[in-house]
């Protein structure tokens, strides 16, 4: 049987390649100091993705008994939100609407110097090198990023018509992959875009209304406690977001929060509690 890939390798060995000067952040652990390691990456094919470029670098490091660069990655098709590093000061690099794994080397030029750093935020402690801990996002989600419906308790899916506009809009927010680029790009390390998109997805929909106020208050409180900064409406997050989530969601979260405060302090019925007996 012919080896398809082998044929392939022979024919593509002539793709244009780049020689790059990398400055990669190295940090052995959360409490250790870090530094920029300078690495020459030679003959990087322009058709390689950014992570494949790092793979090549790591293979070289391993071959000389060096310490490979630790970085998070998984699906490598731009949807899992695992990868993320700051490339020349911009999370996920220079190409708008693109995750690091989907950024390809053809975006760079031969001889370029590339700075590669981890996402920096107090709420995202560095684990090692370029790997950070984003569990703050999970805590925000657990504070209200859901609709409380038990499995099996649902009515027929078409029993509740939802306007296409609302569904599409909800989907715009739901596309968030939770990568954390919004936090990394924000000079305040604010998680507003993430929180706004997650809360907004549900708040747009009729199913999300019963818990809306509770959701918004809970998620914002947890966001604040996790050590993220405040939004100062500079919109760097929107520009860095690989899924192009708009800052209109932040406006909506602000509005929903204000309404929730009014509801919670003035309008909410005072119940007697109990009722489960």
């Amino acid at each position: 049987m012919p080896s398809l890939f082998r044929n392939f390798y022979l024919k593509t060995s002539m793709a244009r390649t780049l020689n790059l000067h990398l400055k990669i952040w190295r940090q052995p652990g959360p409490d250790a100091g870090g530094w920029f390691q300078e690495i020459e990456a030679s003959e990087i094919p322009e058709t390689a993705s950014f992570l494949e470029m790092l793979d090549i670098v790591n293979q070289k490091l391993i071959s000389v008994s060096g310490d490979p660069v630790v970085f998070d990655h998984d699906c490598r098709e731009g949807i899992c939100g695992t990868c993320g590093m700051v490339i020349n000061g911009v999370p996920h690099g220079p190409q708008r609407g693109t995750t690091t794994c989907q950024l390809h080397m053809r975006t760079f030029n031969d001889g370029d110097t590339i700075w590669i750093e981890p996402f920096r935020a107090k709420a995202f402690p560095i684990i090692k090198d370029l790997m950070v801990n984003r569990s703050g996002f999970d805590r925000i989600m657990a504070a209200g990023g859901f609709i409380s419906v038990r499995t099996g308790a649902a009515q027929d899916a078409n029993a509740l018509p939802i306007s296409k506009e609302a569904a599409d809009s909800s989907m715009d927010a739901a596309e968030c992959i939770g990568c954390g680029a919004c936090v990394a790009s924000c000079k305040n390390a604010s998680a507003m875009l993430f929180t706004a998109a997650k809360a907004g997805q549900f708040n747009m929909l009729p199913q999300g209304q019963p818990e809306k106020h509770r959701r918004v208050l809970g998620m914002v409180k947890t966001m604040d406690e996790a050590g993220f900064g405040n939004c100062t409406n500079q919109y760097e997050c929107e520009a860095a977001c690989p899924k192009r989530i708009g800052v209109r969601w932040i406006s909506k979260l602000n509005r929903d929060y204000t309404l929730a405060v009014v509801h919670d302090t003035l309008l909410a019925p005072v119940g007697k509690g109990g009722g489960e007996g």
Binding site: W115, A123, K187, N188, A189, S190, G227, Q234, N254, L266
Partner: protein, 233 residues
Amino acid sequence: MSTLTHAVALTVGSSIGKKALVAVTGAVLAGFVLGHMIGNLLIFAGPDAINEYGHLLQTMLHGMGVWVARIGLLACTVVHVVLTVQLTRENRAARPGRYGYDATIQATRSSRTMIFSGLTLLAFIVYHLMHFTLRVGNEYATYKTTLHGEQVHDVYRMVIDGFSWWPASVFYLIAMAMLCSHLSHGVSSMFQTLGLSTPRTMGTFRMVGRAYAALIFGGNAFIVLAVWFKWVH
């Protein structure tokens, strides 16, 4: 009182609540700036017009009006400043490490210098109040003129004399530039923070913010220039 403490916790105790208060107080201050400028522009309508306006402010509601306004503005300023300083400190703490390669994608310069422009303005306001309201170190308190047979404060001459001293007018122009920068981000930001902007209105609000800032700068700077070039005297 539990409702009140709860409300306070949800506003002053939360990021969005604090920013909403900053936005509301900012809106009051931005509105004041516009009114203040329109009043000052009466200088071009001649001494009587601006002096009458000054007298009206002083005597409104038997002299209480000006104090209500002053206390209100002072409160807004204090809340605005205290909360923004606090927010800025929190924000700096949230981003302890700096990037080795610093880049900005789309944030405007004015948005990135809000605390700087704001604190400069604060310093200016203190100076401005001492200069024209408390009249420290000058003789303006003695400037009097007669209007409709009544003796009133001569605002017109005070302004001309005040801006004739070049250091004061240069500081004034610098402060107006800061105000312009502050407003060009602050006004549209206010709509965003209060949740009033939508995808359709966001662009408009941004334009409105810039236009508003330019208007305030233009109007106020024009007065200084008019005094300098002796268009009014």
